[in-house]
């Protein structure tokens, strides 16, 4: 690859938009071309400065609360609508038939699920993560110190989860909590990444998940790995690449402690 070919691609490469094969050629070109390399590094340098010097504004708690109320009120109002006018009664009838169909499909679906006899831990973990975020009880023991979080968790469970220190890799420990996954208490480690949080469900038993090691559920990325005698299931809104790196360090770098 020469400069003419590489130049338009360098920025896209820095943005993670280039496939692996072309990425390889670009990387090779960058090693030999000071101009292109400077361009590439300028994008990364600016990104680093934006990350550290420019604030990410999180929603004020008051706004979050108001929106919760708003959603509730709207759904109550919507439920009342069909009774208000005779003209719409036929529509309400249709809605009833529709909901009956939904119930039937749901019952069928449930039956199928139960006949398979397994729940999807990935889905459950995402639901638990959302609940925790919404109820603002994401963290029950807030500490960046693994030696505080670990005993807190092990005193409440019948196992002692490893709590790797990944702060140097950009994933500081924020704390931990107890949660429930398919009917059992499970340890959750909460790590930070920039303004995001990563929930890590840890337990000795495998999560019985036939789904791929990494996937997306309702906009969250879910990744799963085994290591250090535990099964690890991570849920976060960070992008899949970052979550992949995180999992590698989490499972690879968790020295027995």
């Amino acid at each position: 690859m020469n400069c003419n070919e590489a130049t338009p691609l360098v920025t896209a490469f820095a943005d993670g938009e280039i496939d692996r094969l072309r990425g390889y050629s670009i990387r090779k070109h960058l090693d030999g071309c000071a101009d292109c390399k400077a361009k590439y590094e300028a994008v990364l340098a600016l990104r680093e400065r934006l990350r550290t010097e420019v604030p990410y504004f999180v929603a004020p708690p008051g706004l979050r609360a108001r929106l919760g109320v708003l959603a509730e009120e709207t759904s109550v109002a919507q439920r009342r609508v069909p009774q208000t006018s005779d003209r719409w009664r036929w529509l309400a009838g249709g809605a009833f038939a529709g909901s009956l169909a939904t119930v039937l499909v749901w019952m069928l679906g449930t039956a199928v699920l139960q006949s398979r006899g397994n729940v999807d831990p990935g889905l459950e973990a995402v639901a638990a993560h959302s609940r925790a975020t919404l109820g603002q009880h994401l963290i029950q023991v807030a500490s960046a110190d693994q030696h505080t979080v670990k005993p807190w968790l092990s005193s409440r469970l019948d196992y002692s989860p490893p709590v790797p220190d990944l702060a140097s890799a950009g994933f500081p420990l924020l704390g931990g909590r107890l949660d429930y996954l398919d009917g059992h208490a499970v340890a959750v480690l909460v790590y930070g990444y920039r303004q995001h949080t990563i929930d890590v469900f840890v337990r000795p038993e495998p999560f019985h998940d036939a789904s791929p090691a990494a996937r997306s559920v309702r906009g969250f990325n879910v990744a799963r790995a085994a290591g250090s005698g535990m099964d690890w299931l991570a849920v976060s809104d960070v992008n899949a690449d970052v979550l992949g790196q995180f999992m590698q360090r989490l499972v690879g770098g968790s020295a027995p402690n």
Binding site: T11, A12, D15, G16, E17, A42, V43, L46, R47, R49, L50, R51, E53, V54, P55, Y56, F57, V58, A59, P60, L63, R64, R66, L67, G68, L70, A71, E72, T74, S75, Q78, A127, S130, T133, L134, Q195, S216, V217, R218, G219, F220, D237, V238, N239
Partner: protein
Amino acid sequence: MSEHRRFEDLVLPHLDAAYNLARWLARDTHDAEDVVQDACVRALKYVGSVHGGDARAWLLTIVRHAFYDWCRRNRPVEIARDDGSAIDAAVDHVSVGPEQAALRSSDSRTLAEAVAALPLAYREVLVLREMEELSYKDIARVLDIPVGTVMSRLARARGLLQRSPLLHAIAGRATGDGA
């Protein structure tokens, strides 16, 4: 699933992203809250039609529309000045640099101030890429422009920040270009 549940599952997890975008577009805490609230009212209406995987980009699209509607009502001048297509046209004339002049005249002593001083069309693409880490494809969807335009605006936004004279403490290169 009820609309309420869908709203809780699909919209609320991305509320920070929604607020951050609104805050950077409106550049004001109160106005950003108004914009997000309006966006959520709209999101509630259409939450039945969204797929889980696209929820964040979908919500950001709504936030952006809500912002532009709000802006048209409250700050029409800003839209006229920062109109994306006018800027894209200006970008082609190398000698003309209205946004560069805007950036120079503003008193941006910090990178955050320089980002806030970027014209809307560049500010939004930068926030979506560097803060929300959206892919080019998703940014194109949110902004309703072609991927090629995403790339050129992003390049321009970065160029403006990198060349912003007050920020360029390292080299005196930025002093050369006359307005």
